[in-house]
């Protein structure tokens, strides 16, 4: 469930609507309780096509730097992960993510706070 963007009460009310109408969350195959390993595995699955050279993709992989992924594909991946794990990563947190580990931990933190 995406976090309210502002202190706007209107947004907050409307925001609750989203959950009722959310067709994507209801078709989720992922377990409601995702472990860190699950999240990392899911991220690596998205990133696999962009592996550069022989170096395997892991927690320490710097997403924008170590791979051949382009910026649009990165944003697509973040959006898909948000949908899969039912979180919305605020833009300030997105801006601080560099590695696979950091992305996974951000998603887990947001899930824990729900």
């Amino acid at each position: 469930m995406p976090a309210p963007r502002t202190g706007e009460s209107l947004l907050r009310t409307a925001h609750q609507l989203i959950v009722e109408h959310d067709d994507i969350a209801s078709t989720l195959e992922l377990p409601r309780l995702a472990s860190r390993v699950d999240v990392i595995r899911e991220i690596c699955r998205h990133l696999a096509p962009y592996q550069a050279g022989e170096r395997p993709i892991g927690g320490a992989t710097v997403i924008a730097k170590d791979l051949t992924i382009d910026s649009l594909a990165i944003m697509d991946m973040v959006m898909e992960l948000e949908d899969s794990f039912d979180v919305s990563i605020p833009m300030n947190l997105v801006a601080e993510i560099h590695t696979v580990d950091q992305l996974a931990d951000t998603i887990l933190d947001l899930r824990a706070k729900r």
């Binding site: 963007r5 502002t6 202190g7 706007e8 209107l10 947004l11 409307a14 925001h15 609507l17 989203i18 109408h21 959310d22 550069a52 050279g53 710097v62 997403i63 924008a64 730097k65 170590d66 051949t68 382009d70 910026s71 649009l72 990165i74 944003m75 973040v78 959006m79 605020p90 833009m91 300030n92 947190l93 997105v94 801006a95 601080e96 993510i97 560099h98 992305l103």
Partner: protein, 585 residues
């Protein structure tokens, strides 16, 4: 919650005959129209009639005045598409303050470059306050840390928490600035365009009048464009507002996520006016065309504008092919041309004519600066098509000048200059940078190249080094600096430019390869591309230049990006990991 109406029941439409933004909002507030915010899933999140926008702005204004901010002081605001932006922007208009809308962070890992940009924008505008959505409060605090001039910063709550005092409003007047538009200049040396109330009114009158979009009662606007961009803020806030229209908003991020929502909103609310750079039409076609909802009905869309980057006729044609079955009328396309230095728009293609192209010989264009009709328009190697962007707005003048300042006739390619009431007085606090583009007699050097064709302008490219990726201005200096700052290569060892791929611009970075062995060369290229992606959030190709060859310099010893590009297109530089030489676009 219902969408706001497209018509006011008892308020006659006044089309752009106002003197200031506060006057525009005062009038629109007497009707029932207003702004609606939609989610990525197409739900109406909130709606504010112009009356409410005005009431909220008055509250914000009284808080700002009560807090002791003086007339003319600058207020930075992150221009995400959220109600708080409207409170702050219009609040400033009624408080006599000058808003400075700025962008939000893009991409992952972009924190450092975003903070850097914020610091420079705060310093360059001399802002005394900085507000944003709550998520960005920490970034605003970081950026303002060493700037004592910034007396107040934080999320929107910081404004809401100020006491509302019983003070008189101090609305900005016709002789005042309206706001500062940061879309010009590199992030290292940002130039804030001074948008004056007077120039804005002149530009809006042209834009909404018979030579522009010719807005009529019942028109309705839809937009996903960022409000920190002139096309978003002037084109899709001010222009509909000055005609008392309703506007439906989707955030740029949500548009990128679900582009079909843009079209769904137009279809559902019977939108009539919407704009996008070519890439937005492209994204909608690529992601949406495979699953067009059966009930999508775009027959209401009478003004489908294109602006903000080079107009791609093939992209638009694919969009029209995909959505004609849903009622889209390809004659609704309106190619247009402009820049923040003239507020927004300077030419519009005639209404109802759709996209018209001129096919010219690529070689004559490059070598003779002439747009000669192509002998064989089907020959993709030789023929290149450009879009006719229409006539200059009434009351304005346009010239195409050759290298010695001589006026060029039809089909002579030169630099485009513009003069008239929409032209800015200069960049804020930057007399030198202003003099570089504005002459004493009021002519603005647009930095764009183009030619005349029977009274219409055709834009072919840029004389300046600016790169435009998906409608976003990117200065090559920022790319070069990002690479140098990460110590990937030495300072001066890198040149960035863009090439036209036909479908868009592609960034190319040429670096001196002070490494040997294919593996090290591939690694260097990857590191350069990674640094650019992380700092600027754009993708690039990397070309390796042998150190003995070096990067070309101008006679004054400055890096020549134009010659670097010419060398690259001529195949002089190696592209690591690829067996063949680069192909000229």
């Amino acid at each position: 919650m219902d969408p706001l109406p497209s018509r006011n029941s008892n308020l006659p439409q006044r089309r752009a005959d106002f003197a200031t933004v506060p006057e525009i909002l005062d009038y629109a507030a007497q009707g029932q129209t207003g702004i609606s915010f939609y989610s990525a899933r197409g739900e109406l999140l909130s709606a504010l009639a112009w009356r409410e926008v005005r009431e909220r702005a008055h509250v914000t204004a009284r808080k700002l005045i009560g807090a002791g901010f003086a007339m003319g002081e600058r207020l930075l605001v992150t221009a995400d598409t959220w109600p708080g932006f409207f409170d702050t922007f219009f609040g400033a208009q009624y408080a006599g303050l000058i808003p400075v809308p700025v962008s939000i962070p893009v991409g992952i890992g972009g924190k450092d470059s975003y903070l850097d940009q914020l610091r420079r924008q705060l310093a360059s505008s001399g802002a005394v306050a900085a507000v944003g959505i709550d998520d960005l409060a920490g970034f605003l605090a970081d950026a303002a840390k060493d700037l004592p001039a910034v007396r107040l910063h934080g999320g929107k709550g910081i404004l809401d928490a100020l006491p509302e005092k019983a003070v008189d409003l101090r609305p900005l007047g016709p002789g005042d600035l309206c706001y500062i538009q940061f879309s010009s200049g590199s992030t290292r040396h940002p130039h804030g365009v001074q948008i004056t109330q007077r120039a804005l009114m002149a530009n809006l009158a042209g834009m909404t009048g018979p030579a522009g979009l010719d807005v009529i009662p019942g028109d309705r606007a839809a937009s996903w464009l960022p409000l920190y961009h002139d096309m978003g803020l002037i084109g899709f806030l001010m222009a509909p507002l000055i005609c008392q229209l309703s506007i439906d908003y989707l955030t740029p991020r949500d548009f990128a996520r679900r582009p079909m929502q843009w079209l769904n909103i137009i279809s559902r609310n019977r939108g009539t006016i919407s704009y996008s750079p070519s890439f937005g039409y492209d994204l909608s076609t690529r992601r949406g065309a495979a699953q067009v909802p059966a009930d999508l009905d775009l027959s209401c869309w009478r003004r489908a504008g294109i602006g903000g980057d080079m107009i791609r006729p093939e992209v638009l044609s694919r969009f029209a092919d995909a959505f004609e079955p849903s009622g889209f009328d390809r004659k609704a396309f309106i190619p247009s041309y402009g820049m923040a230095e003239v507020c927004l728009a300077i030419t519009f293609s005639p209404k109802g004519a759709g996209v018209r192209t001129d096919i010219v010989d690529r070689i004559a264009l490059g070598s003779d600066q002439a747009a000669v009709p192509a002998a064989d328009p089907q020959d993709a190697q030789r023929a290149r098509s450009f879009v006719l962007c229409g006539r200059v707005l009434p009351g304005h003048l346009l010239e195409v000048r050759g290298p010695d300042g001589e006026l060029l006739a039809d089909r002579g390619v030169g630099r485009i200059f513009v003069k008239g009431p929409s032209v800015m007085p200069g960049y804020f606090g930057e007399p030198e940078a202003s003099r570089e583009v504005l002459s004493d007699d009021g002519w603005l050097d647009t930095g764009d190249l183009g030619y005349w064709l029977a009274g219409e302008i055709v834009v072919t490219g840029r004389a300046k080094d600016l790169i435009i990726i998906n409608g976003r201005n990117v200065w090559p200096q920022d790319i070069e600096w990002a690479i140098e700052a990460r110590r990937v290569v030495k300072s001066g060892d890198v040149a960035a430019f863009s090439i036209d791929t036909g479908a868009g611009e592609r960034v190319v970075v040429a670096v001196l390869a002070r490494v040997s062995g294919e593996e090290a060369r591939v690694a260097l290229a990857r590191e350069v591309a990674g640094a650019v992606r992380e700092a600027i959030a754009v993708d690039c190709d990397v070309a390796l230049v042998p150190p003995p060859t070096g990067l070309p310099m101008t006679s004054s010893g400055k890096l020549s990006r134009a010659r670097t590009k010419a060398n690259y297109l001529a195949g002089l530089y190696a592209v690591p990991g690829s067996p063949s030489k680069p192909v000229a676009a």
